[in-house]
Subunit: 282 residues, 2 copies
């Protein structure tokens, strides 16, 4: 489908994206742009990319440029790319926040070459080594402000994500950031905080290691995530994240109050309400 | 190894325990004791048990009685069993709290027939249908106050758990309950509270359903757990749970404060500290 694409960033998302396209024969040549030579070399060794080039050269040689880097640098880098592209090229990003980026690019003369996407897949790992085959399948990919993108560009990007097994959801960038705070960002905050809680209370790390079961592992798994990726997400989406974090603290206080007052009925009620999540994520 | 055993309760733990013993040829005949006929019938249909009997009859016919019921009824039921058993029989429980039970049985004339165990395995499901083959493997099984049990009884119970692939950890019942609060009970509280948070904030349930990814699923998975099992655990271990819950709320407040004050450095520091969990649960 593409002769040559560039992935900007050679980590979990871009690397897995490249593998998915290569596995399906959707691209012939993948160029990688990386801030460090070490990562570029790893990405080459792992077969995530066929060539490593500086940004400007890479963009010139590509039909499609896919940006998957921490959101605090996405706006600058994407703007730089947009300044370079021609009318036959497509740019898309994979960032976990969309409002600030969409706002920054809104009046760019080449805005229609850009498609704002968020494939809602990830793991707690990062870097070229974390890239995996068969990523993305079964998850949603959000596309924001599609009306500002060239319809054929949108169609092309959609068809790629669909080939990877994703379903497409459309929304404006504000709604995206609000929903992302609820279904993704808060889970990361609670997991980081839970890890800190246990590390603070349980001075005998051997006991955690020895006793931890599947429940503990699944709730703290996300605490292994890369701070350099997640701190910028929380900061860029801070109003929504604060809103849901305040709610979460108040929900935890309800449990606390039940235990303090030994209010068994209310405790049961809180848990029965939580059980409603069964019908949503079964 | 056993001619005939009784499982009291025919749910996730007892059912999976029975399957594990049957799969390995460690028992010939499994009797089930259930409060409801529906569950007893399901357990029979699913092959978890070979026979359903009332408690007293079941105990008489068994070499080994395994109690796996909600912890608010465990003390009464186990005491009743202990009053019935002879010196050639063994009783063990699988409860998630150990202090109250061990205290209640401490001076029982047949205390040495009892082995207090907590196999630290489980899923978010309950009832006979939730029982699975190959459960327990790779997890810890805590044995409390082993010095109060007959050494040959302990040896026999240990050898069973080891055959299931568990490693044994010994501790007093107070330490067990404290560690269990850290590595298990708090994970359930945070998961229940997170489900309530998202259900409260995200009125568009379709959005959760459509957008939720692996991270969300893993952090709220435990919120599907059975309140009838977990409310008694939280209540029986309320002092330890409150202690760790208070710490958790204070850890979440640190994240809140970072976001409110846009203190990026401290946010990074909190997350980097949480990353230490990597070396414990990798």
């Amino acid at each position: 489908m593409f002769e040559s694409i560039t992935i900007v960033g050679v980590g979990l998302i871009s690397g897995s994206f490249s593998l998915a396209l290569k596995d399906r024969g959707l691209v012939k040549h993948v160029i990688g742009v990386s801030r460090t030579e070490t990562s570029a070399k790893k990405a080459l060794d792992l077969g995530l990319i066929d060539e490593a080039l500086p940004l400007e050269e890479a963009v010139k040689k590509s039909d499609f440029i896919y940006v998957a880097i921490p959101v605090d640098v996405t706006i600058d880098v994407t703007t730089k790319i947009m300044d370079l592209v021609q009318d036959n090229q497509i740019v898309a990003d994979a960032g976990s926040t969309k409002y600030a980026l969409c706002k920054a690019l809104k009046n760019h003369p080449k805005r229609n070459r850009f498609v704002a996407t968020h494939p809602m897949w990830g793991t707690e790992y990062s870097g070229p080594e974390s890239a995996v085959h068969n990523a993305f399948a079964g998850r949603a990919c959000v596309i924001c402000e599609k009306e500002l993108s060239d319809p054929r560009a949108v169609e092309k990007i959609e068809s790629i994500y669909k080939e990877l097994g994703m379903h497409i959801a459309y929304m404006d960038s504000e709604s995206h950031d609000m929903h992302a705070a609820y279904v993704s960002h808060i889970s990361h905050i609670t997991s980081f905080a839970l890890a800190n809680t246990v590390l603070e209370k349980e001075k005998e790390e051997d006991a955690i290691f020895e006793l931890a079961g599947g429940g503990f592992e699944s709730t703290v798994r996300l605490a292994k995530s890369n701070p350099l990726m997640w701190a910028p997400i929380f900061m860029q989406n801070r109003e929504n994240v604060l809103d849901v974090l305040n709610e979460h603290i108040s929900q935890l206080r309800k449990f606390k109050s039940c235990l303090e007052k030994e209010n068994y009925e209310y405790l049961m009620e809180l848990m029965q309400n939580a059980n409603k999540i069964r019908k949503i994520i079964e």
